[in-house]
Each structure stands twice: as structure tokens, then as C-alpha cells.
């Protein structure tokens, strides 16, 4: 098997665009089945939305209640007023933003170097990236817990962000490398003959060309950090707790608390879903158009 894994996933993202050929014939059955599938895929989310917007006394009633109640946003109000949700949300955002920025700042030069240095070193490093991507999380997170405690940075957003940069770095490099590999090397050479240094060329020529690639990598890293549960569970306690950890602690408690967990889930989900829809369009426009015009 000689495939380059993430080449394919970057290509996959371009497939949201208009297809290149016309369909041979109309197939209404396919459309109906896909429509049903979409409803099925969304059903847990729809059900959660309904449960969260019901008054608490009927929210989890069995048999389920579908009408005769007044929809309410009380769960969101309670979430905001009776828990430290705002703090957890800020923590989650800080961790996601900091780790995305750091991951890109160190990942872009590394990925570029890997794409331009074809040798056994580069192949070996890529293999390591793949292996580290596949590691069981606890194999690095439990030692990190021990180390962060002895360094006195346990339960800080910075430690969590840094941990996530490292954990996602192999993936970041791997993804970015494949974008860089599509940019012809002649372009580097031309820019450098024109008097650019390697770093200057990376900044002025490569990064603008890599816009869609960097955005893709950034979105993935942001999503990973935003939704990370396991690492945050181990590396945070109270002062840097993130929303997923908060949601998990609300489970198995009282019904109002469960409903608040649902409300928190929705607030965590909505931005992610919006990103998924916006990013899909952007990536289609950026990539199918041929971002690499070399």
C-alpha cells in the first residue's frame, strides 16, 4: 500500500463542490433514502434540542411528551446562573485558540521543511508522526499529569493548551506537509533567486499560497482542542476545567443538572456545526479552484 493517507483526506474536502460530470439519470429513490439518512443522522441532536427546551418536569418524561408544553430556555438561564459555565467556556476557547495558533506557528515551518527535504530523515519523521498520531492517549497524558504536578503547572489552561499542541502536532504536520507537497518546488527557487531568504520566501510566497491548507489544518486543530475530553479530564481540576469535562460531571446527577448538561452540549455544538458548514464552502471554493497556480 503506497498511499499517502492525508492526501486523500485533503482531496475529500474538495468533493463538496459541484461535480465535474452530469449524473447519468435521475434516481428519486437514492434521494429519498439519503434524505431519510440525513434525518437519522441528525436525530440525536434534534432530540437533545427538544429535551433541553422543555420544562424540566416533562423534559425526560416517559412516554415522551411532544406537545402541550411551552418551550423554554430556562435550562440555559440556569446553566448560566447556577454553574460556572461561563468560566468553563472561556477556558475551552482559550485552550482551543492558543493551541491552534501555537500548533500552526511551529507546524508550518516543520511541514514545509519535510515537504522539501525528501530523504530517509523526512520519511522517518513522517512515520513517527503517524505512530504518534495512533498512540493511546493515556500513554502520554498520565506522565504529563505527573510532570505538570511536579512543575506546578497542573490545572492551568496553558499546560492543557501545550499538551494539545504536542498531541495534535503529528497530525498538523502530516496534513500541512501534503498541502505543501502540491506546491511546485520551482516556485521556491524562483522566489529565492529573486532575493528572498528561505524564511522570507516561506512568509511572503508560501503562506499566502497555502491559505486554504492552513485554514484546513487550523480548523481541524481547533476542533480537536475544542472537543477534547480525555486530556482535559486528566490535566485539569477546577480552575481550568473545560466544557466537555463539565458536561461529564453533570451526568448521573439530578434531572435539572442533566438538562443543563444538555444546554451546555448545545452551546458547545452550535459553533462547531457552524464551522463545519462554513468551512465546507470555503474549502470547496479554495481547493477545487486550484489554490496552487504554479
Amino acid at each position: 500500500m503506497t498511499i499517502k493517507p492525508l492526501d486523500l483526506s485533503t482531496r475529500a474536502i474538495t468533493t463538496g463542490g459541484a461535480p465535474r460530470r452530469k449524473p447519468t439519470r435521475r434516481r428519486p429513490l437514492t434521494g429519498i433514502l439519503l434524505g431519510l439518512l440525513c434525518v437519522l443522522m441528525l436525530s440525536p441532536f434534534i432530540w437533545m434540542t427538544l429535551s433541553v427546551t422543555k420544562p424540566t418536569d416533562v423534559a425526560f418524561a416517559n412516554p415522551p411528551v411532544f406537545s402541550g408544553y411551552t418551550p423554554t430556555l430556562q435550562a440555559f438561564v440556569d446553566l448560566w446562573q447556577t454553574t460556572y459555565f461561563a468560566d468553563y467556556l472561556v477556558n475551552t476557547l482559550v485552550v482551543a485558540v492558543v493551541s491552534t495558533v501555537l500548533a500552526l506557528v511551529i507546524g508550518i515551518p516543520a511541514a514545509y521543511a519535510l515537504s522539501r527535504f525528501p530523504s530517509y530523515v523526512s520519511a522517518l519523521l513522517l512515520v513517527l508522526a503517524l505512530v504518534f498520531r495512533a498512540l493511546p492517549r493515556f500513554a502520554v497524558v498520565l506522565p504529563m499529569y505527573d510532570i505538570s504536578k511536579s512543575l506546578g503547572i497542573y490545572d492551568t489552561t496553558f499546560a492543557l493548551a501545550l499538551a494539545l499542541v504536542a498531541i495534535n502536532q503529528p497530525f498538523t504536520i502530516w496534513l500541512l506537509r501534503n498541502f505543501f507537497a502540491e506546491i511546485p518546488r520551482e516556485l521556491d527557487e524562483a522566489a529565492m533567486i529573486d532575493g528572498c531568504s528561505r524564511i522570507g520566501m516561506l512568509r511572503r510566497v508560501m503562506i499566502p499560497l497555502m491559505g486554504p491548507g492552513i485554514l484546513t489544518a487550523g480548523i481541524f486543530v481547533f476542533l480537536f482542542a475544542f472537543q477534547e475530553y480525555l486530556t482535559a479530564l486528566v490535566l485539569t481540576d477546577s480552575s481550568s476545567k473545560t466544557v466537555p469535562v463539565f458536561i461529564a460531571t453533570q451526568l448521573g446527577q439530578t434531572l435539572p443538572m442533566l438538562q443543563q448538561a444538555g444546554a451546555a452540549s448545545m452551546l458547545l455544538t452550535i459553533p462547531v456545526v457552524v464551522i463545519a458548514f462554513i468551512a465546507q464552502k470555503y474549502l470547496v471554493a479554495g481547493l477545487s479552484d486550484g489554490a496552487v497556480k504554479g
Binding site: 486523500l8 461535480p19 452540549s265
Partner: protein, 290 residues
Amino acid sequence: MKTREFWVLFFPSLLVMGALLVLPLVRTVQWSFEQVRYGVPGEFVGLANFVEALTDVRFGRAVLFTVSVTVVTTIILLVGGYIIATAVNRLTITRPLVLGIMLVSYVLPNLVGAVAFSWLFDDSFGGLANRIIEAFTGNQVLWFTDQVPNGILVIANTVWSMIPFAMLIILAGLQGVPSELKEAARIDGASSFQTHLHVIIPTIRGVLGFVTLITIMDVLRMFDNLIPLSPQAQSIGNESIMLYVYSVAFADGAQRLGLGSAINVLTILLILIMLIPFIRGIFKEAKAER
């Protein structure tokens, strides 16, 4: 590019990965040979932790459960992903909408998706899906306290969250199949089913291999979704390997770090073995480029 330039550009990333991935990993390997607690230096005990893990019935059940879920999920994802990708490949104007909807379950945090899933199936939270199943079959399914139904629930949730990924990658593969190939098959009188089986699937087998690899890697380390979906995982025998590590080495002040680390090392070995074909692929490519 000069070697020096390469290392300058690569160094920051290397530093972060070395300090925050390699060092912790070395610590894990070291711990796996020790009797150790957090914050206290360990004591070397040889292979005792490995012996304990491999003879522990609970660990055996965790491996069995994890591997079963992984195998079933992978098969469903390959077949289902292929069928859905073929269907989506025929769409024109509605394609971005369908892809967007399909992506929702993939980008949702696993934990959130599993919470939402559990509400559909738990009778004490309304259990909409149960009412529907009951109306059709008259049976009540104990999704959370019976081993097999609970396993099915976990598989359903895993498939739900990963099928968009499988579908997207296979879709990308399908678009790379030259239309001449399909035409040639049709002219030769192949039925649509035969074309899929003998022409399209062999052409995209690399893509299918990639989906298989990522699925196996991700499902083998499942953790988040079991928290809401299998609250009684240990007593009904539906613990995943990672959940087992968590409960012996971290949860509620657990301190059996040596045992947990030994299991992590065993899991890493298992994953390395599975990665071998891909690693060879990368080296072959590097050789070709030289």
C-alpha cells in the same frame, strides 16, 4: 534545501514533540516495569505488571469487548460508507447540504454525541427510540444493563460518529476512478453490481485500506463515548481498554500506574504491528523520490 535549513525550520516542532510526546512516552515505558505511584519514584518489578495484565480476567474482557466493537464497526463503516458515498456521488446541487448535515455527527464532540445518543435510548430520559422499537416488536431492550444490547448501542454510536469520515474519504476515492474504466466495464456487459465489485472496489482499495486503518486506530482507543453510554461498563463486561487503564491508574485516586502503563505499552505494540504496511508504503515512496 540544505540540511541546516531543514533542521532550523523543523526544530521548534521537534522540541515540542520531543519534550511533550517522547519524554512522557519514555516515562510510560519505564513505569510499565515499576511499582509506582504519582509523585513518588517507582521500584523496579520486572515484568510483573505485564504478567498481571495478561492474566487479569477483567483486562481480557476489556480486550475482547474493544476488539469486537472495532471489528464490527470497521466492517459496517466500509460497507455503509461505500454505499452512501456512491449515492452522494450522484447528487448535484444538494450535495453540499447533504455533506454538511452528514458532517455534524463527525465534528460533534464524542462525549456530546454519546450523551445525545443515550437520551434517545434511556427510558429514564424519555427513550424515544425504545418507544418506537417497542411499538414494532413489543420487546423491551435493556440498552444499559445487558451486555449485548449495550455493545450494539456503543457500536451504533461509533458508526454514527465515524461514518461521515468513511463516506468522505471513499467519496474522494470514487472521484478518482477514471470514467473510461466504468464505461469499458459497461460495454463488456458487466452489471452495475459486477462493475462495483470487480472494477471500482479494486481501483480504490488503497482508500479503503486507509479508512480501515484510521477506523481501527480510533476505535481501539475509544473512551469518551462509554462514559454516557455504558455507565455500568465494568459490571456488564463492556469496558474498553482505555476505560480499564483509566479506572486502574487514574479515576477516583487510583494509583496503579505500573499496571496502567503496561497496558498502554501492550496497546502501542498492537498498534505498531498494524501500522507496518503503511510504514513500508511511506519508505517506498521516499525511495522513489530520491
